[in-house]
Amino acid sequence: MNAVTRIHSRSAVLVDENIDTDRIIPARFLTTTTRSGLGRHCFSDWRYLPDGSDNPAFALNQPTARGCSILVAGRNFGCGSSREHAPWALLDYGIEAVLSCEIADIFRSNALKNGLLAIVLSEAEHRWLLDHPGIELAIDLRTQTISLPDGGRIAFEIDAFARQCLLEGVDQLGYLLARSAQVDAYLQRRAAAASAGVAA
């Protein structure tokens, strides 16, 4: 995984609340056995017209939204299924950060493990960003701030461990594998407790 420290982009906005993972990537594209190339299916049923051409009414198809890597989305983004294809599709589409006032648990966890910043903001900050699409934003993961064009800053909280892994560009499996001895000890404790008649 590549390290993530700063993301600088104009913002694209999808105001809809509850954008579920079926909308991010419909289930018919989940028969893939790889994680690459899903960007062309991202928001498929929303983004394309029935003839396959771009839907001009879809916000991300607007000229001002093209090439944006920061997505400001309505409340409860990523609700629904556990499919990691959702962050894979967003990243392949070119989105590197999603900002909302609420992001579904599994989506957020999946996103952070793939280098997609999923950042939860206060309702007021979120509202302001929704109302100001297309502005230049600079996200700094190290300082946990988002810089605005007028010099203002928004501070954000993010899971400390996920942040460290993102900054260092390391995935979390290595950390888990390094705890193999603790797992052995845990299983021994459990077996001992079970044989003593006390289930662990």
Binding site: V15, D16, E17, N18, D20, D22, R23, P26, A27, R28, L30, T31, T32, T33, T34, R35, D45, G74, R75, N76, C79, G80, S81, S82, R83, E84, P87, E102, A104, D105, I106, S109, N110, K113, N114, D159, A160, F161, Q164, D171, Q172, L173, Y175, L176, L177, R179, S180, Q182, V183, Y186, L187, G197, V198, A199, A200
Partner: protein
């Protein structure tokens, strides 16, 4: 004397390999890892790339369910996969299980089925255990007092390689369901009602414990239906304290402990219930007596309403979009809405009790001529049991289709789909736009409402048929 703990906290504490710190999440041991063909291939690739094996194949249970056709193969045994990719995905899991030594309940298994149906059936789902799967409806297993939740594919790789997950401790929410459900009102109506009350993000960041008299009165199958849809309220997991109903249901199942080990396990399981005075971060009260047959009117499970109550007016653009998509009308009840397709099945309502309920209503009646009805058992075991009771005869005689087990139209990635504009009454769990086919409109309902609607040809109250049957 230690502080009173909730059911969730007891299971969490018992599985801590490393405790959470301010800088690092907890390392949680996983007792059972369920895998299927859709969310595992990239995880096995990761293992291969790193030269890793599966740490505990005996704690890993694999099956085929999402991409699998529900129509039988041809004379040569060639199965009617929706696409070559679907077939390749199934074959990939077969190959991965072979290579990594994981037992697969595949096409040749009499135990194959939807992952959340077969875990409990096999007795692999045990009270007090931790269970994960690359599928958000893993919350189903919480009905047994397990801590069970959906994970992404990266985490599937973590569990395959280490049998552990990195987790931050979630908050807890008690949903106290007081009173008793009225006659003819099901667990599905109850959970749709609950999600309608707390909203689809009401449980975000929380593990729900369903409590109270109405929950204690539910059968094991009904408890699974309730816990299954916890994720539709945004919750990480849903749990119900194990009791005699749980122990009776598990008794004698293939993978449960035997003899003295069973007795010891039951003694332990009895200690799992939340202690008196245990604190929850949030508590919600639901009056079971007020629940009526409930369906969805919109495009997420929180847009739920009593079948005979008027659809609300749109309060915002999201709700207006949902009304437009569903072609629903504010002020008019969903009752009476014309139906094109009826789907009975899924990990929410694809168990034997659900099929019995459906057959009881279909018995001696015909599905309306303009309605296509699919009945898809949740597993091969459910299929066998239903056929042993002759339920398939009733279902076929009514003009419905009797299919092979799988997820089928719940996720509609196996070729079982609805056409654009068709209205599907579905016993599944999600009514998102396009979930059952591009432009298809989904109304979530109980098996009884689904069966009654199939006969009537429009959304119908099952109680009229149940009363007729009783008379």
């Amino acid at each position: 004397m230690s502080a009173p703990r909730t059911l969730f906290e007891k299971v969490w504490d018992a599985h801590l390999v490393c405790a959470q710190t301010s800088d690092t999440p907890a390392v949680l041991f996983i007792d059972l890892h369920l895998i299927h063909e859709v969310t595992s291939p990239q995880a096995f690739d990761e293992l291969r790339a790193r030269g890793l094996g599966v740490r505990h194949p005996e704690r890993t249970l694999a099956t085929l369910d999402h991409s699998t056709p529900t129509l039988p193969g041809d004379a040569d045994g060639e199965r009617p996969y929706a696409t070559p990719a679907a077939k390749a995905q199934v074959e990939q899991l077969q190959a991965n299980c072979g290579e990594f030594g994981v037992h697969l309940h595949g096409w040749d298994s009499s135990e194959r089925g939807i992952v959340h149906v077969i875990g409990p059936e096999l007795g692999a789902t045990l009270p007090g255990s931790t269970i994960v799967c690359g599928d958000s409806h893993t919350s189903t297993h919480g009905a047994f007092g397990a801590l069970a939740f959906g994970i992404g594919t990266t985490e599937v790789g973590h569990v395959l390689a280490s049998q552990c997950l990195l987790q931050s401790k979630p908050k807890t929410m008690a949903i106290e369901v007081d009173g008793a459900l009225p006659a003819g009102v099901s667990a599905k109506d109850l959970i749709l009602h609950i999600i309608g009350q707390i909203g689809i993000a009401g449980g975000t960041g929380h593990v729900i414990e369903y409590r109270g008299a109405a929950i204690r009165a539910l059968s094991m199958e009904e408890r699974m239906t309730v816990c299954n849809m916890s994720i539709e309220a945004g919750a990480r997991a849903g749990m119900i304290a194990p009791d005699e109903v749980t122990f009776d249901w598990l008794t004698g199942r293939p993978r449960v402990p035997r003899g003295a080990a069973w007795d010891g396990a039951v003694v332990h399981w009895r200690t799992l219930a939340s202690d008196p005075g245990a604190r929850f971060d949030q508590t919600v009260h639901i009056d079971a007596g007020k629940v009526r047959p409930t369906v969805t009117w919109g495009t997420h499970p929180g847009m739920a309403i009593a079948l005979d109550a008027p659809v609300p007016a749109a309060r915002d653009a999201v709700e207006q979009r949902a009304l437009d998509y569903m072609q629903a009308h504010s002020g008019r009840a969903m009752l009476g809405t014309r139906v094109d397709v009826v789907f009975v099945g899924s990990c929410t309502n694809g168990r034997l009790s659900d099929l019995r309920e459906v057959a009881a209503i279909l018995h001696g009646r015909r599905v309306a001529s303009h309605v296509r009805m699919l009945v898809v058992p949740g597993s091969e075991s459910v299929r066998r049991a239903a056929e042993a009771e002759g339920l398939h005869h009733t279902i076929l005689a009514a003009g419905a289709q009797w299919r092979l087990p799988g997820c089928s139209m719940c996720i509609a990635m196996n070729g079982d789909i609805a056409a654009k504009g068709e209205l599907v009454v579905s016993t599944s769990n999600r009514n998102f736009e396009g979930r059952q086919g591009q432009g298809a409109r989904t109304v979530l309902a109980s098996p009884a409402v689904a069966a009654a609607s199939a006969i009537a040809g429009h959304l119908a109250d099952p109680r009229q048929y149940l009363n007729e049957a009783a008379a």
